[in-house]
Symmetry: D2
């Protein structure tokens, strides 16, 4: 079927390419002309403005937005007046599901349809396919099935879940799922990313323990400020992190795609020297915690994972100064200089 | 080659079976006669006492112990006098690596060898193979290679790690790895389990958020003790957790074996009614935190995962009473009854 | 000066009494007639309706609302049409500071003034005075100084802060403070309560450790599911928690009013048998975390304190079932029954 | 009575001075001659060697060690051969209570007595007195009462705990307490310090939130890596942290000595520019977590407080690199440079 794509960054561009492989017709637009031209060269129909873009789509139009969350509302405001009744706007970016609920209401009031799609798969999606979590009215979502089916990974060689009936009544094993009404797609994607933060932090903490397992071999000074290592003989290991990551990929309980990626990175450079360890976060992790708090659900692991990222960017600096000032206050403790 | 196995619980019995499939000769012993008989029926050489067990092994003997951590030392004390110089004791259970270091020293002093093997794979190991993390003297570990190779999963259909050379100099891609000297195997296994706790908790917290995403649909009382839900319209989702788990298994960033198992469990029963939510922990998670603290490595995620298990067993009860008592003290707050 | 008080629960009633002690005239209203009558008996001017209440106040009126956060907006909507230009509405309850900012704008547009006051002191405030954190326009706040001064504790016998000049330019040492524009008072009170959660949890966790310090004296079963206590000789202490709380109140680094209250509670009953340990939370703790996340400030301690309360109400139940289901999945682990 | 003091750092020296004020005779020794001389000038009996020190004490001798935990065992080994039956060694430093239990056994076997004393009060102890938590045999502890009574703060002007009988059967309200057998004193002190870490972190996190409450005033770039601040109008506050700390000292729920110290530090310099925020930890916080884990007591708050200190010293660096490497792996995310 035909799909219009606005926003041709890496994600948008790869999705268009994956769709065209399956024979879909893609009309594309991006503020950067070279991004449009690149896809035209690969078979897409290009457009030089939102007006031209809309004019090249057949009604009812299906317009997929793949934009930074911060500008999605602006583009929706620009394109809405150009659309006709029953046209569909699909937000495949990382919107807050609160915004989906609001947009769903606003666009419905205008006779348009809105579909939110949480998309996981990253830069590997072009080849592996994208896991799609979808929110919106069921008939509208159903009408887009050919698109979702092409973007999704399909059953692949993943073993069936035990106890899952052959006709389970959903497309989940194809890799795309209508999760519920407006916002449901991004809600599930939000929690997906919250979990992702937790998984990543679990591996990161574990490898850090392995990395410092030789700490007993170093000489440590003895003073009133520093607890001596009671048993230095227990920390004399120089682990090969590449090999550890590799062996865990075979038959262990903690096999996962994130471990595969970690193994790749450690094999490229076991000290990860290309990174300073300043870790960004991009919204969903935060929203996950806020939702958990609204629901009174304890999420100590997911929160700790988020906070580790904040601390990696030194946002704990003033708090730490307060601690040092207290210690100086009651104990006369003088800070040791940064190494 | 020949291996003696002491301890024929599920893990020990399955390992013997996997070894015999590859043509190894297994001499077996367990305090429970029926466990011995069962394996004899499958081709193993049985024994009715540790003495008989030792007598049936050729020198240098390789004795694999697969026992609860609490009794391993006792059995080592019993069997050591029966062994001869250069015999090997292998501990495949979940020992604390401190004990491995101690035992390694003690047995070396007696002319024996000690190898610690962390084993991951659970009840699926018979078919999938076991991921083996090994500590001990290199020549001794090398001499046991045929055993490790048969127990491990092998390369299988797991994609090679990017940037890993063909001849990487270790057996990691076969699923077994000599990690370092005495204790190194159980150290790596300990951290493996610490990570496992974190991964499990990340999924558990995420599914809990999804489960309660319909909380806005319920009616809530308004009083000074309870914060009203500001936006009940944001929590009206009835997610199908089976489908969510299933769709995440296809192409998402959070695919993993633990997610596969979660999907299986949710398909068997979406409310997990067979479980009360009282979660055990069996040592490695605790030791991981203790090692992290000794190393001054922050592990907020792994710790939170461990503490969730403690709380699931109501070990936070007195702490919570203290909180309620304080609230009564400064605010006159009266506890709401348990639902 | 004259003040009108709406909402005569424990907090509102005590504040009226404290104000009347200092000679202020208080006009009072509450939906419950007996609450009005009670204060009339103590010298207040009563009223049977909001209309009567407003009519008894001199312009510019000062109307203090002391209501559950959930109904404050409703009462503001009812009373606003009855007020005249330059009248002041003061919210002394536990409002979310977002609501203060909104209300400040709305009431300003109507020619009215809005002041938000975070109030700490609990049921002891009548005698100790209330710590007041105030947001709003400076001249308006200044006009209410006689009220704030009477409600606040005053300098008392608290030692001056080191390095604080005699004329520090604020009323902070009197126990009330204009913190900034609309919402600033409740923002500071929100963080105060967030800190309060953290402090309370620190004591609660500590006393729990002391409580269970005799765990080595009990007999423990040995099985593969349970890590044996390595050193039971280290956990043979039967601490007298009353005495420990009492001794910490003298000269230790952790003296505080919350510790005083804990000591009181433990002396009333060392096992705190009147409490089940189901701990409520009432908004500010949650908002603190949300603000921290918006600001990218790591707050692991304050979050953990909040989550402990969620878990105390068994909101972790489904998460724990997921953990048990996974453990059953990979390890065949069977849940131990709840004790 | 007479007391010998070994270790004349700030703590030891202040304790000697406080004891002499009450008329006790103090024999002192330190490896640094000038420390000895300083106290001789204030009335103490000096000694130039451990031998001389012991010779100047009357039997049964009471020898108080006030040393860094790392060298306490060495000094005990040196002095033990010089002592006679029924002499008492008191460790007032920050020993691990495991070591107390061991030493108690060893010294008892030699006919000596051992008392462990956890000491809180810091540099203010000379004036405020020291809160003393004591472990050991009751008759031995009782024999030292005059010393403990002089070091402790006494009842002072702290209000009595509600419900505490006049004759409560312990000296807790005097500020010293016999907590139980060997190790009990340092166990209680360990938990005291664990709580201290939690309290300190609660304040530090709270002030950090206040500090960054003006983050909405700054301009933020919009890109796919950074979540935009949804409501910058909520973060426009420039709080005066000095005043906030000061006002909280009057009548609020979170008054404490640590808050007093924080207020002092903020008044000295509101940006705490003298500190880099590299926070040490000195043993007891770690041991508290280890004890909690041994007891299966969840301590998320106390652990988070400890980990904040580890992170303040950049011990999370490799973990953060692993996170950045994973993000690069699945999302092509490029690290933003450190500001």
């Amino acid at each position: 079927m035909q799909l219009g794509m606005v926003g041709l960054g890496r994600m948008g561009s790869f999705m268009v390419q994956r769709l065209m492989r399956d024979g879909h017709e893609c009309v594309v637009y991006d503020a950067k002309t070279e991004s449009v031209n690149d896809l035209v060269g690969k078979g897409a129909v290009g457009s030089a403005s939102l007006e031209e873009f809309v004019s090249k789509l057949s009604r009812p139009r299906a317009v997929w937005l793949m934009l930074p969350a911060a500008i999605t509302d602006k583009v929706i405001a620009q394109i809405t007046p150009l659309l006709d009744s029953d046209d569909i706007i699909i937000d495949g970016g990382n919107s807050y599901y609160h915004d989906d609920i609001r947009r769903g209401g606003e666009l419905t009031a205008k006779g348009l349809h809105y579909v939110d799609v949480g998309t996981s798969g990253g830069v590997f999606g072009l080849e592996r396919g994208y896991c799609l979590m979808i929110g919106g009215e069921k008939p509208v979502v159903d009408s887009l099935s050919p698109i979702f089916k092409s973007l999704a990974p399909g059953v692949g060689n993943v073993a069936p879940s035990a106890h899952r009936p052959d006709q389970a009544g959903s497309t989940a094993e194809q890799g795309y799922l209508h999760c519920g009404p407006h916002g449901a797609g991004h809600f599930v994607k939000m929690v997906h990313n919250g979990i992702e933060y937790g998984l990543m932090a679990a591996y990161a903490e574990g490898f850090n323990i392995l990395k410092r397992a030789n700490i007993g071999a170093a000489t440590h000074e003895v003073d009133a400020e520093t607890a001596p290592i009671a048993n230095p003989e227990h920390y004399q290991y120089d682990f090969n992190l590449q090999d550890v990551a590799e062996v865990w990929r075979r038959g262990s309980v903690i096999t996962s795609w994130l471990l595969d990626l970690t193994s790749d990175a450690l094999h490229a450079d076991p000290v990860l020297g290309a990174y300073a360890g300043r870790v960004s976060d991009s919204g969903e992790g935060r929203w996950t915690i806020m939702a958990a708090i609204d629901e009174s659900v304890p999420t100590p692991v997911l929160s700790a994972a988020l906070y580790s990222r904040f601390s990696s960017r030194d946002n704990d600096e003033f708090a730490n100064k307060v601690l040092s000032a207290m210690r100086a206050g009651f104990g006369g403790h003088v800070e040791k200089p940064k190494a």
